[in-house]
């Protein structure tokens, strides 16, 4: 979804990083980011995503490989010459300066004159709707306001690339959601490239053009939010993004891209081959809870299940079932007329389509 411009604006070329010379925190990272793109690095803590961001910003050295920005290798360029805006997790607003002075700082170190500085500071403040807060100190602002100022400060010197290191981590849920949209709209309006680091999948799915899912220093999958959710390429991604039911089994035979799987808990199932080694090998089947149908009219892989628990959530009912020996099988039953037939302890018929059941690496 690159907005016109180079498709290889930021390039990680076989990048490795080690802190202690014994263990690789980032293992052979290859990533290309197009100009104007919003890419999120998503992963659990310790997965190497922040290290990648710090290497791109220039605060961590690259152990091996090369990072290129706009075609130029930047491994040896100090951070202040990279011209990359950055928003930090704790905002890092300078406490001894007013909001205006904070915003003017990147301009004054670039030798921009006073009147020009004032215009641009004003513009940046208006951009984040913080016009009347210029004279305050960061400590006098709420978390959300500080967040906006940090954003404005990272954008005021008009960088083409902005890095964000879990910038919404300290905000409460409602504000976080609101800020997600604001950042997304700013990105669309200004056309800057954004590399965003988070461990919150909702944030990643809401804002990004593409998401890189990190685990153990490796990108597990790099794809658009839709692909990531609909078509996870391995068990980690399927587990990490959204809710997922897993069934372990062995592939009996394959027919085209359909695998016939014998489940460990007994029973058979047809699944779409995605990332498993074929006949005789173990596989993990992944089925999204909302893709399972309940009732008599089920098609495809039909089986019976026992209802273990029901949680009423308004728009849907979350049912925990025992399916093929798996006690943690979750089904989301839409709140329609037919949900009344579910009762804890009762047997129900459930089923799912072959294409919604993906055979992944075990």
């Amino acid at each position: 979804m690159a907005v016109d411009g180079a498709s290889d604006y930021v390039v990680f070329d076989h990048v490795q990083k080690s802190y202690d010379g014994e263990e690789l925190v980032v293992k052979d990272l290859n990533l290309t980011i197009a100009k104007g793109e919003f890419v999120t690095m998503l992963g659990p803590s310790g997965s190497g995503k922040t290290t990648c961001l710090m290497m791109l910003a220039g605060f961590e050295s690259v152990t091996h490989g090369e990072i290129r920005l706009n075609g130029r290798p930047i491994n040896n360029i100090p951070p202040h010459k990279r011209g990359i805006g950055m928003v930090f997790q704790n905002y890092a607003l300078f406490p001894h300066m007013t909001v205006e002075e904070n915003l003017a700082f990147p301009l004054s170190v670039r030798g921009i004159g006073k009147s020009e500085r004032e215009t641009r500071v004003r513009g940046a403040l208006d951009m984040v709707q913080m016009g009347e807060f210029g004279k305050r100190r960061p400590a006098q602002l709420s978390g959300g306001q500080q967040q906006r100022i940090a954003l404005a400060r990272a954008l005021v010197f008009e960088p083409e690339l902005v890095l964000m290191d879990e910038p919404l981590g300290a905000l409460d849920k409602q504000l976080r959601e609101h800020m997600q949209y604001e950042i997304k709209h700013l990105h669309e309006r200004l056309g800057v490239s954004v590399v965003y680091v988070t461990h919150d999948q909702t944030e990643a799915l809401t804002m990004s053009d593409r998401v890189a899912v990190f685990n153990h220093g490796v990108i597990q999958q790099l794809a658009s939010p839709e692909d990531l959710y609909e078509r996870p390429m391995n068990a980690f991604v399927a587990q990490f993004i959204g809710e997922n039911n897993k069934l372990l089994g062995t592939v009996e035979r394959t027919e085209g891209d359909v695998a016939y799987v014998t489940l460990e808990g007994g029973g058979n199932c047809q699944a779409t081959m995605v990332n498993c080694e074929g006949q005789g090998h173990k596989t993990l089947l992944s089925i999204r809870p909302e893709r399972v149908t309940v009732g008599d009219e089920v098609q495809g892989n039909a089986t019976s299940a026992q209802v273990k628990e029901l949680i009423y959530l308004g728009d849907h009912i979350r049912a925990r079932l025992n399916v093929h020996g798996n006690d943690e099988f979750i089904v989301k039953v839409p709140n329609k007329n037919n949900h009344a037939m579910l009762a804890v302890g009762s047997e129900v018929r459930i089923g799912w389509a072959t294409e919604d059941c993906r055979a992944l690496d075990a």
């Binding site: 100090p78 202040h80 930090f88 890092a92 300078f94 990147p106 170190v109």
Partner: protein, 424 residues
Amino acid sequence: MSDQELSPSTGLVLAADGTPLKTKLRQAERAQRLRAAMLVAPLLLFILVTFVSPIFDMLYRSVDNQLVPDVLANTSKVIGDWDASKTDTPDEAVFRAFAEDLLVATKARQHTRVGSRLNYETAGISSLFRKTGRQIKKFDFDQPLKPQFLAMDDKWGETEIWQTIKRFSGSLTMGYYYAALDLKNTADGVEMLPENQRQYLMLFWRTLWMSMLITGLCFSLAFPVAYLLAILPMKSSNLLMILVLLPFWTSLLARTSAWKVLLQREGVINDTLVFLRLVPADGRLELINNSFGTIVAMTHILLPFMIMPLFSVMRTIPPSYVRAARSLGATEFTSFWRIYFPQTISGIGAGCILVFILAIGYYITPELVGGRTGVFISSRIAYHVLSSLNWGLAAALGSLLLIGVLVVYWLYDRIVGIDNVKLG
């Protein structure tokens, strides 16, 4: 406020049982406050007895002159009528009162104390009093006494002696303060002592500038160390911290003596310099028993007091500030100077004020390594407390030092703000 009950008469907020809420709150918290007071009481009492009361006692001693009007009770009453500008010596009435006072004082052996007290102001009075004390019993009180005094010692005819007695006949005096500031209160008003008798102003000035220099040296040495401590990983910074604190755990005397070993003419440093032929063998450097020795030894001793507050402030500055500045385009120096340094001001202030106040009152180290040109005013205070036993002057010198510290503190509060001081 609509759901709270208000007292109809006073408009105060009432608790559920009808008593005013404030009273209720006080009652509820009384037990807690009482317990808190009990906990601090022993220390408070200790400080009152051993610290606060001696300070007020010393402040009082610096102006106390009760001894003279007590012993020379009659003289004090009548000498006020004597006008020194009209007659050289007081009349018979004053001499008679003085003789009576002296007769009583001699029996109580008080006349020598008054003599030495007045001797601080005019030399010779002490011996005159002692001599007169021995003779006073032989005086014929039925005859006029003035001629007998003059016959015994013609000093009793000197206006200056009587002026001194008159000036110090009150129960309070500024005399010690005049002396502490190299001033003299004469009949013609307050004037400076002659050049060759002045000593305290010069010592105050030396104490001041050397303390400032020591503070400055401590700051410039401590800042990089504290910075290093703050940015190093925990393991190495702990080790370095121990090295910083090690001198702290060593006796002050041991450290000062170590400097004597290092700095003396035949000491380690001079030997090394001679060995390296940087200094000729017959031209060894005078590194100790002068102000240089004091500055070196005191900078070393006070260094931890600068490092600690600096370190504790620097440790709380997250590295993301400097990182943010760098990402915004600032060079390493700019981000240090404009972002990091201003945030350490509170630590710098705390360290400087701590070191300066400690330095200004330091005694043992300047006394041991300072020689003649490196001692502080504290040395004279100690001399007057321990040797000359002129406690009034010692108290006045000490009070002036206290006033100096308070002035520095006030200036500091005006410029930096005492709220910004962080000690840890």
